[in-house]
């Protein structure tokens, strides 16, 4: 059974069909890439599925249950997490606190008013493990706002990962970082995702990154799915090549 399935999902902004009758499925354990030029509807698709915006029509099923209108909170409880293209962090909290907050939240412990967060050694230890996996262990005490762009991108993913999701959406995890930094970031992310048995959908702009790291690629164009296949198939798909190389957005 598919972990996630969308049926005829639509979202328009004015006359623009950002997501246009999309049927899209993800099997458990997959790591797939969602590609497309600017304005192809990748981020909107993720926003609709993760609950940031509501679809106009269509349906989203997760593990066979309709979650189209579910709240963000409910979707997270079911195991759907996401990172953000423009890094969304808690800038005045330490790197450690950014991650441990996700752990507290997952465990339903953010309702605790009368215990010290730092005194919870189980959460602190788990936070330390997550930071280590993402290569951020040396930065634990720094404020998130003081990290470099590459570190911020990693922390953004680490916060989502600390929720221990079943399905993780990564919206352009390497955007805004130098080409040299991209490979190390993707190495860490794919390593963590695979070892954690997490199903991941990675939105990516950089074709080199996509072809290297993702065994399945879904290409979008003008709100619709244009192609779906292995890197080899996508590379040889004339429509994809025309649209990805073209200047239209």
């Amino acid at each position: 059974m598919d972990l996630l399935r969308t049926s005829q999902l639509c979202k328009s902004f004015g006359d623009t069909h950002a997501v246009d009758h999309v049927d899209f499925a993800v099997a458990a354990g997959e790591v797939l890439a969602l590609i497309g030029s600017n304005g192809a509807g990748k981020t909107t698709l993720i926003n609709v599925i993760s609950g940031l915006i509501r679809p106009d029509s269509g349906r989203v099923d997760f593990q066979g249950t309709d979650i189209t209108g579910a709240s963000v909170h409910h979707k997270i409880a079911l195991g759907i997490a996401r990172s953000f293209q423009l890094v969304n962090l808690f800038d005045q909290l330490s790197v450690r606190d950014n991650v441990t907050l996700a752990i507290f939240s997952r465990e339903g412990r953010t309702r605790r008013l009368f215990s010290l967060a730092d005194a919870d050694s189980a959460v602190r230890d788990e936070g330390a493990v997550v930071l280590k996996e993402f290569g951020l262990e040396a930065r634990g005490s720094a404020l998130a706002g003081g990290l470099s762009q590459g570190e911020r991108k990693l922390l953004d993913v680490a916060v989502a990962y600390a929720l221990r999701p079943r399905l993780l959406f990564l919206d352009e995890p390497t955007s805004g970082v130098s080409t040299r930094e991209k490979a190390p970031i993707m190495d860490i992310i794919t390593q963590v995702v695979r070892s954690g048995g997490i199903t991941a959908v990675i939105v990516e702009h950089d074709m080199d990154v996509v072809f290297t790291y993702c065994p399945r690629i879904v290409a979008m164009h003008q709100g619709a799915i244009l192609a779906d296949g292995t890197p080899e198939q996508i590379r040889n798909n004339a429509q994809v090549t025309a649209n990805m190389l073209g200047t239209t957005g």
Partner: protein, 325 residues
């Protein structure tokens, strides 16, 4: 707002507390009473700052909760004929909590200026009620509150009210203050407190780690209102009288002033700010009829020179040599 280790905080909080305990035996009673006012305002500012410093919401209506705490005490005296301070505190906290619970539902869906204006408008509703319903509230004359009995009637005022206020009542306020500070310190360092700070820093992301933003803001609003209401209840016996002035938005402005003066990005800033403001105001009023102008100039100067507030600036100065190494 970096986390301060409990031990490091205790290391300097303990001597300060010892000094506060010794104070009434060293300084004239008038000074002790003045400080009592300062400590009471500090509790109000501490509650206020849970919203401003930790949740990122600027309330311009905290006079509502302070005033509600004060009027609840006056009503307890007027209708229930009780004079027990414990009953006053309980009544004050519950009444302000009830008002905060209702106002909070209306306010927490908004942020920034919209939140500020809404809290201001709601507090002005209470002010006009206190003003107009004079047969209940005494109108602009207010309601008198006699000297209470402390600790379930075990401690009573003698013939010298001033002596009572400057010693027994001072220690009572100090004890409540210490408990309130400790409680708030734990709250802001709890997982719940971290969630509030996360909401302050990034509402969208907080929602996407599973924090129900409105719900958490409402709880913060409620706690904030109750702390400020507690301060209001402690304030009335000191003042002997509550009037609609305490519900007016200008008093909300004072609570904002306490907090900004001390530094809203620090835990202890609002406390220091409230105590210092109280001295500033008292001496400005005592020395010149233009005291409001003096305070205005101080505020403008502070915002320009010390944008991080007194505590924020001191902390920055102390941290500088360490950073240079």
């Amino acid at each position: 707002m970096t986390t301060t280790a409990p031990r490091r905080t205790l290391a300097w909080a303990a001597p300060v507390l010892a000094a506060l305990i010794a104070l009434p035996f060293v300084v004239p009673p008038y000074q002790t009473v003045l400080l009592t006012y300062g400590l009471v305002f500090a509790i109000a500012a501490l509650g206020f700052n849970l919203l401003l410093g930790y949740t990122g919401l600027l309330s311009f209506g905290h006079s509502a909760y302070f005033g509600m705490g004060a009027y609840a005490v006056a009503f307890i005296v007027k209708y229930a004929k009780l004079e027990s301070m414990e009953a006053f505190l309980l009544g004050g906290v519950l009444a302000s909590g009830a008002v905060a619970a209702v106002f909070g539902v209306l306010c927490v869906r908004y942020t920034k200026i919209f939140f500020g204006i809404l809290t201001l408008a709601l507090s002005q509703v209470l002010w006009s009620l206190a003003f107009k319903f004079f047969w209940v509230t005494g109108g602009s004359d207010g309601l008198r509150v006699p000297t209470p009995t402390l600790l379930g009637g075990a401690v009573r005022a003698g013939s010298d009210k001033f002596e009572f206020l400057s010693h027994r009542y001072y220690f009572y306020v100090l004890a409540v203050f210490v408990v309130a500070v400790a409680l708030m310190w734990v709250i802001v360092h709890s997982p719940f407190g971290k969630a509030l700070q996360a909401i302050r820093d990034n509402e969208t992301r907080a929602e996407f780690v599973g924090v129900q933003v409105w719900h958490y803001r409402w709880v913060a609003f409620l706690i904030s209102g109750m702390f400020t209401g507690l301060a209001g209840a402690l304030w009335v016996p000191l003042n002997g009288l509550t009037t609609p002035d305490i519900l007016h938005w200008t008093f909300s402005g004072k609570i904002v002033f306490f907090t900004v003066l001390g530094g809203f990005q620090t835990f202890f800033g609002p406390i220091v700010g409230a105590v210092i403001f109280n001295y500033l105001e008292t001496y400005a009023v005592g020395h010149t009829v233009y005291w409001q102008m003096v305070l205005g100039i101080v505020l403008v100067a502070l915002v320009l020179v010390l944008p991080a507030g007194i505590v924020g600036t001191v902390r920055r100065l102390l941290a500088r040599p360490v950073r240079a190494v």
